[in-house]
């Protein structure tokens, strides 16, 4: 059974505006969870990281949560 959330749900593109999905892959400090914790493939982890970084730049997600 695959653990990759995006592969399992056949999501091909990760949108930086979809912050409700992106939030699930952040820890309580707002940092991106590691692959060990997200269970994503390397490709999807890279796509996720890029989407989160875009969302941070656009102030849709915080850089840090104190």
């Amino acid at each position: 059974m695959t653990q990759d959330y995006f592969k399992a749900n056949q999501i091909k593109n990760i949108d930086y505006k979809d912050i409700e999905i992106l939030k699930k892959f952040l820890n309580p400090h707002g940092r991106i969870n590691s692959r060990k914790r997200t269970g994503l493939s390397a490709t999807h982890q890279r796509m996720l990281a890029q989407a989160i970084k875009r969302a941070r730049y656009m102030a849709l997600l915080p850089f840090i949560i104190k």
């Binding site: 653990q3 593109n13 990760i14 949108d15 505006k17 997200t38 269970g39 875009r54 997600l61």
Partner: protein, 169 residues
């Protein structure tokens, strides 16, 4: 090869002090800029007022202005790579746009309408068992037991009240 169209998406934050009527005009202006550069409109998300997760500082004139909310919208369009450089300059020079982002994307809608439930790997079973056990505990309680729990809570509350009174004295 040079005239091939690429799918782009621009997300932008508009100045929150803009009157709501002018927001529509601003979006129309942007669409006009796209079409005048040979771009083809695909889809859009109309700007809505939303809070920002941190304060954005934008230099307008000789002043640093701080924004904690904005009208966030996006437009998806097709354009040649040469024209997008020109369009980027338009966005940069617009003082009503406090921040923007241009990305390459795909024609299809990338927003997920129904979000499947997400669980971190290895947490699935633990959550299920915990949920079930809680429900069972609730179901097993008889009215007599509930009354007993209520009485014990009342006792605790009254004892803490007395302690506080003693301290005050």
């Amino acid at each position: 090869m040079q005239n091939e169209l690429t799918v782009y998406e621009t997300g932008f934050h508009l100045n929150p002090s803009l009157p709501e009527g002018e927001v529509l005009g601003k979006v129309t202006d942007l669409k006009d800029h796209i079409s005048s550069r040979g771009g083809v409109f695909i889809s859009e998300g109309f700007p809505t007022l939303r809070p920002l997760t941190y304060t954005i500082v934008k230099r307008i004139g000789n002043e640093n202005k701080r924004f904690n909310q904005s009208y966030f919208g996006w437009i998806k369009f097709e354009m040649t790579p040469e024209a997008i450089v020109d369009f980027k300059k338009v966005l940069e020079n617009d003082n009503d746009i406090i921040r923007f982002l241009i990305i390459k994307t795909v024609r299809e809608d990338t927003m997920i309408s129904t979000r499947p439930e997400f669980r971190l790997p290895g947490e699935e079973k633990v959550e299920d068992e915990a949920g079930q056990s809680n429900e069972e505990e609730k179901e097993d309680l008889t009215p007599e037991e509930e009354a007993e729990i209520d009485r014990s809570i009342d006792d605790l509350v009254s004892s803490t009240d007395k302690e506080e009174e003693n301290k005050q004295e």
